[in-house]
Symmetry: C2
């Protein structure tokens, strides 16, 4: 089938009215149990059919011995059965008008075994002949919070605007989990494994035109059709940011990717050149994939790199300046309009105060940190601000908690004024359980969640914020220079 | 005074029998209060003399109007008074046989103001003339847990083997805090600010021969005497690992460092060449300074780069391989002795299983992950192992918690066998307060603390572990090739 057909078909299958879990089970901690459990916990509203020979009932739902015994149409099939049983199951799909098959089932081409490879080919050909899109094998399938479909029990239930395409199921689940606790919500995330049927290009084309999706995150190990991928990625990147993490960048990674999803990972240089030509946003690792998603999820289309860095004292300010400049941002000198205010209100600071702003030197002057932040947020000399939430506070925890609450409230006040895009950094340095432990952790997390919920992009460190912002600005600058809309 | 004299003097002052806090105060959240409070909370066992005119008593201790009114000798003075009062205070020091003065007092050369600069010069000259080492101005002074001396209220009380030399007080406090919750304990950490008296070379020489210190971490913005620093750093690095974070690596950072500690930061290239020639261990940022300290604190002198990576499934394994290889480690193919075992126990995996090991493919074979780990730990083909604590677990939290507890117990069992240096990674991805929140965070932290307390080096991610290990191996390889002991 051609790719337009595939996109239309995928749109139908991502909103399934009924799902059959083939190989469902009442035994906890088997995948036949877990896929049922995920759907139940995510609140799937359609009809759920567990399929297992010899069972009357599974997890409170009437069970059927096989697909063909189900009394109605099945839009979506999740297969948790062994590889050798899959051909028989597929042969029953047309009778139930199945619109899509997800093979969690693995042990095919990724084993490096000829038989496994041949079985995968046979299954894929048969599904193609029947016109049924096949997701997998060897993958987690679909997370679509709006429909109550999930591939884990602890992912955000609220839908959002980030779409995901993941060759690896583990990475897909962790991405949704880690970006989720950073305030990101999702349209749909698809783990597609060995890509014997539906592949990364089909999914990219689908998400490109999906109204629920504004940003796309991808993890790929290899692609089936390099030319089509290049063309698709370039076209989609002109419409929406596409953030790419490439697995198998090194010799060892390439060997691993073959035994994971049977992918030929290819040379790193070729990939990097392609990503650059496509204006895809490259993530260096998993942490950065999440950071970039947070940045694009919360920030507008910033197209300038002049950064003002607010807060932190002494060494923190020196390191913040280094990290911003090393990431390619312009740590501009304090703009003229801000300097005019300093000259007027605290002339003793004229030769001292710089960008980044060391808040600790404002003590005893007529400028307090909060007012100063307002002045910077109103300056025409910055494109955006990075705000370091105070971490070096010398006081005990009650006072410190009050102070960072005040500070965060001020960031929120500045943000609500809408004068300037704001980014916040708040440390997550692996806090302990002892005396620096729980209160500190909870307070940091509460402040972080408060900021996230109001739309501030929050990062662990200035380095991470600066890296993400630099890539975000590059993306929007490049997109502007080549013009919006589906370029050729 | 010459540097040998300085080292002897510093040794005396780091074990002070009495401390005067000049400018002490009963007003909470002033530094005159905080420095008293830090000493009290850290359990300082010597005599404590608060000094403040007009006060009878401060925080339960008899107060004195000035240094000269104190009825006994004062070994160590912490000055929290304004800069202009310092000369008078210094003039009283000889009468009390003061052995060291710490000037928390700031607003001197770092302001960029000529008067501040002149005052600093005057104070430093006078202290030198009197033969009293001066720490600062503009710094946090001393954290020495064995003596109950601290510059913050929440640092580890148990002494350890890491020494620190920090030009920035904020960075010093955060370093001790963040490395502390990662299982590191300290001999002594000194924040020395503008370095008008005691400087980075004096401190480096002192810690080089300090029996309590095995590893040295340094944060510098600039040095007073480049030639001496080079010579000292090279000599000390031949004896103990010296981990260096340089602030002011960029144009913007250099400008900031001048207004922080009046340092001339100099060109990055010159610094990097020097660090390399000295075999100093360079940290790229604050996170890495902590990671490297954790690595050197827990691991032996590993001199080979052949890494085995244990655990994780699918994409995690691919990315782990990439990250190890990009960090310069050798992700060797599975060694022959391990392959022999696979051929014998699970021949179906011979073409599939690689290094890193994807645990998820062991299911249904006669090899379980824990046994497999033992086999790898016994192989002569690896120099060390990186163990990914399982994060992608599909089960709910009770089962997951049981599984990671079992897994961590197995790491501890392998470690206690002493067969192989072990590194563990456990995610700290900024977990939330919601349904993925507290239980998950607590469990991860409890497992992390358990491993740390047993001497395993624990990192947030394979990237961080691999970066730290690669630098650790480089350090020991280079040291071996130039010979141990104080080389010239």
């Amino acid at each position: 089938m051609n790719s337009e057909n595939m996109s239309q078909r995928l749109d139908a299958v991502f909103h399934p009215r009924s799902i059959a879990v083939v190989g469902a089970s009442n035994t906890p901690n088997t995948y036949g149990y877990l896929f049922m459990d995920y759907l139940i916990k995510a609140g799937y509203r359609g009809v759920l059919y567990p399929v297992k020979p010899g069972s009357e009932e599974i997890m409170g739902f009437k069970a059927y011995p096989s697909l063909k015994d189900i009394p109605g149409d099945v839009d979506y099939v999740i297969s948790c059965i062994g590889a050798r049983y899959v051909p028989e199951m597929i042969s029953q799909c047309p009778e139930r008008n199945v619109k899509c098959i997800h093979l969690f089932t693995a042990r095919m081409s990724e084993t490096g075994d000829k038989k496994g490879h041949a079985l995968e080919q046979e299954i894929a050909s048969e599904a193609a002949r029947l016109g049924i899109p096949l997701i997998g094998p060897n993958c987690m399938g679909l997370y679509h919070p709006e429909e109550g479909i999930s591939f884990a029990y602890d992912l955000p239930k609220k839908p959002g605007k980030v779409g995901g395409i993941f060759q690896s199921g583990g990475i897909a689940v962790n991405f949704a989990r880690y970006a989720g606790v950073r305030g990101v919500a999702f349209s749909k995330v698809i783990s597609y494994g060995n890509a014997a049927g539906v592949n990364e290009c089909d999914l990219l084309e689908y998400l490109a035109w999906d109204k629920e999706t504004s940003i796309i995150a991808i993890y790929i190990e290899g692609v089936r059709d390099g030319r089509r991928f290049f063309k698709t990625l370039r076209e989609v990147s002109a419409i929406k940011p596409v953030i790419v993490l490439k697995g198998g960048r090194t010799g060892a990674g390439t060997r691993s990717s073959f035994s994971h999803t049977a992918s030929i990972a290819g040379s790193l240089n070729a990939w990097e050149v392609m990503f650059k030509q496509c204006n895809a946003v490259q993530a260096a690792d998993m942490d950065e994939l999440v950071d970039l998603t947070v940045a694009f999820n919360s920030l507008p289309a910033i197209t300038g790199k002049r950064v003002g860095v607010i807060g932190g004292s002494g060494g923190k300010v020196v390191l913040s300046a280094d990290e911003c400049e090393q990431s390619g941002l312009d740590v501009v000198s304090m703009p003229g309009d801000v300097m005019d205010t300093i000259r007027e209100k605290a002339p003793e600071l004229v030769n001292w105060l710089g960008n980044p702003v060391d808040f600790s030197i404002l003590g005893g002057t007529s400028l307090n940190p909060m007012d100063f932040m307002q002045i910077m947020a109103g300056s025409i000399g910055f494109d955006f601000l990075i705000c370091n939430v105070t971490e070096e506070n010398p006081f005990d925890h009650t006072v410190w908690a009050q102070l960072i609450t005040m500070e965060v409230n001020e960031y929120l006040r500045v943000l609500s004024g809408g004068m300037m895009p704001l980014v916040a950094t708040i440390a997550n340095p692996g806090l302990g359980l002892g005396n620096t432990g729980e209160w500190h952790w909870k307070n940091l997390l509460e402040r972080r969640e408060e900021m996230q919920s109001k739309g501030i992009a929050v990062f662990d460190s200035v380095r991470k914020a600066a890296t993400a912002l630099s890539k975000l600005v590059n993306y929007y600058e490049n997109r502007k220079s080549i013009g919006h809309g589906g370029s050729k």
